[in-house]
């Protein structure tokens, strides 16, 4: 990877190089500053924050705001902290990501290797789903959830996110499998493997990069979603994002900024982790098939 980066880099002079690094540095600071502010202030006493300088390092480091945000803070009417909602989010995200990724892979497999009359139209319609704004589907979705009897449940949210994510996951897998040699599928047919076996014995094991891309994409979107969570969840199924909003925007009592900052970071940790663990595959997977070789 590193070697190829050097080979493909354009040769530049020292001055250009210095300018490039300077620009990169400025942007890096610019983007990291909010995280720095959140991090620093989440470790301060409330009095110290009120005292003024947001950018200063804490005089007394305390993890009390983190503990409070996690399991003591007042969310809505209960002093439960964010912990139960964090669990709600996990219970929603994991099935939603797994199901939408698998269905997307299956769709991509069918759309490229088992083509049928009108398959491009089907794909175009699924692509169209990527461009529909969330707000448009709120009311029809509410009707569907009510009809299915899963309104206000975690499974209702899972369904919403699977349906909404399917357009993207199908797009990812279709484009990846389009470059996958069809002769392999033919060889497997002659070998006697059926539709599903070809899928999970031949295609899925070769789909690592695109699975990572899809999982990151879906995890981030589903975890960060606020609108569907706020619209379709009950108190006992509200995801992290909604709880965080309830914590931060409560109109009574003292504004505990340090707790709010800690809570916001807690809410961002899972997506950060996913990026750190799988991130290096992300760009590689997105680029797969885009350039030959």
């Amino acid at each position: 990877m590193a070697a190829s980066a050097i080979e493909t880099a354009v040769r530049t002079g020292r001055l250009t190089r210095a300018l490039i690094y300077a620009a990169l540095l400025v942007f890096a600071v610019y983007y990291l500053l909010p995280l720095f502010v959140m991090m620093v202030n989440s470790l301060k006493e409330l009095d110290e924050i009120r005292g003024g300088n947001m950018l200063a390092l804490p005089e007394i480091v305390t993890i009390a705001p983190w503990i409070k945000a996690w399991n003591q803070a007042q969310i809505g009417v209960q002093p439960t902290g964010l912990a139960p909602y964090f669990l709600n989010s996990i219970k929603m995200v994991v099935p939603a990501v797994i199901i939408s990724t698998l269905l997307g892979a299956l769709n991509g497999y069918v759309l490229t290797k088992w083509r049928f009359r009108g398959d491009t139209l089907v794909f175009a319609l699924m692509l169209f789903a990527c461009f529909i704004p969330f707000q448009i589907v709120l009311i029809p979705m509410a009707r569907v959830l009510g009809f299915l009897g899963i309104a206000g449940t975690t499974w209702g949210l899972v369904l919403v996110h699977v349906v909404y994510g399917l357009g993207f996951t199908t797009l990812f897998f279709r484009n990846y499998y389009a470059a996958f040699p069809t002769e392999l599928v033919k060889a497997a047919q002659i070998d006697g493997a059926n539709f599903l076996r070809i899928f999970y014995r031949i295609l899925l094991p070769s789909s690592g990069p695109i699975i990572v891309v899809t999982v990151i994409w879906q995890f981030t979107n589903v975890w960060n979603d606020f609108l569907f969570g706020a619209s379709f969840a009950d108190f006992d199924s509200q995801p992290m994002t909604v709880a965080l909003n309830n914590l931060v925007s409560s109109s009574t009592g003292v504004k505990e900024y340090n707790v709010h900052f800690a809570g916001a970071i807690l809410a961002a940790i899972p997506t950060l982790l996913v990026y750190i663990v799988a991130g290096r595959y992300f760009v590689r997977g997105l680029m797969a098939g885009a350039v030959k070789g």
Binding site: P181, E183, K186, A187, I190, I202, S206
Partner: protein, 370 residues
């Protein structure tokens, strides 16, 4: 008794007719090569035999049983693909045993078969490797190994050598030939390379635009091509096709070639067919293989069919084994295959002899052989 029979086979993709009524049969142990330019339908024909494409009309019989409706895995065939189609996520041993696993062959038996075939192809050292770690020639062997473990009724090869470099291609060609001799299994082989077709086949089928042009042994195809297309396609360098006129002189048929100065050279025709007799006095195309034009010093010494001819040499191309000379013949450029030590020089007029016993005539309008 024909082992593989294709009769009246048609294949349409929507309004496009890809195969227009193909009839071929191969005896057990035969080696059928389907040859033709790209897009002639030869791969489609192979795919219909494999069952990877459905048939629009006609019938395919393997060992006397109709297989039109059978799934590829039930036809008792094995196929080697142009890209080798090795499963990238499995090692060589798994690649070879996957088909047996799908058929529920016990593990011990699978292992034994893989070991036996790997030994035969000398790929034992590669069994633990992934396809990505193999060279082109090794992948080719593994692809053949995967077909061999099946012990099928028919092997299907889809341009298996076209991704190899020239030297390896010749080696693998010999290997396939040896394998065929040893196993005696019926083979259907697709290629666009007429040398592969000539060297491997017991039966060659030449296709063009979805129509079968000729089926026959390599010698038949080479010496008695049905039409101008087959004559031109098979053989390298290809057959010289010279415009001429068929006349009668002293009771015998002669082919008259025009020379640059307006005079003609008359070459007597041997054993003319009835169609040729009926064509006297009209234009024809004279087909002469390069090796039938020679500048040997003793013309006509070996047979009575060698006739002298004088022609202008344009360029010579020594290939090592022999020398190709571009000469002017009947107003066209023609190739003569001369011995390596020939004295022919570019720019000279030289005496050649033509072996008319191997000459063929074509009707310039229908392009069919006379």
């Amino acid at each position: 008794m024909s082992f593989l029979v294709v009769s009246g086979l048609e294949k349409r993709f929507g309004p496009v007719e890809v195969l227009k009524g193909i009839d071929i049969s191969v005896p057990q142990g035969g080696f059928l090569v389907l040859v033709g330019p790209s897009g002639c339908g030869k791969s489609t024909l192979l795919n219909t035999i494999a069952g990877l494409e459905t048939v629009s009309a006609g019938e395919i019989l393997i060992d006397g049983a109709r297989v039109n409706e059978l799934h590829p895995s039930k036809r008792d065939i094995a196929m080697v693909f142009q890209s080798y189609a090795l499963y990238p996520n499995m090692n060589v041993a798994k690649n070879m045993s996957f088909g047996m696993e799908m058929r529920g062959v016990p593990r011990a038996e699978r292992k034994e078969t893989v070991a036996r075939v790997a030994n035969m192809l000398q790929i034992e050292d590669l069994l633990d490797r992934k396809p990505g770690q193999l060279s082109g020639g090794q992948r080719q062997r593994v692809a053949m190994g995967r077909a061999l473990v099946r012990d099928p009724k028919i092997f299907l090869f889809d341009e298996p050598l076209s991704n190899l470099d020239a030297k390896l291609r010749v080696e693998m060609r010999t290997e396939i030939q040896k394998l065929h001799q040893r196993l005696g299994t019926t083979i259907v082989y697709v290629t666009h390379d007429q040398i592969e077709a000539m060297t491997l086949a017991t039966v060659i089928a030449v296709l063009k635009g979805g129509v079968l042009q000729q089926v026959g042994s390599p010698a038949e195809i080479y010496n008695m091509p049905n039409n101008i297309f087959v004559a031109d396609f098979m053989g390298s360098p290809s057959m010289n096709l010279v415009p001429a006129r068929l006349d009668r002189a002293d009771g015998a048929l002669v082919v008259s070639l025009k020379r640059a100065d307006g005079s003609t050279t008359a070459l007597p025709l041997h054993r003319p067919s009835d169609a040729a007799r009926a064509h006297v006095g009209r234009d024809v195309i004279l087909g002469l293989r390069p090796e039938n034009i020679d500048d040997a010093p003793e013309p006509g010494a070996t047979s009575g069919y060698h006739h002298p001819l004088e022609a202008h040499v344009e360029v010579t191309q020594p290939t090592g084994a022999d020398t190709l000379a571009m000469i002017r013949l009947g107003g066209r450029e023609a190739v003569a295959r001369l011995r390596a030590e020939t004295g022919a020089r570019a720019g000279e007029r030289r005496r050649f002899t033509v072996d008319m016993s191997k000459a063929v005539l074509f009707d310039p309008e229908t392009e069919e052989r006379l």
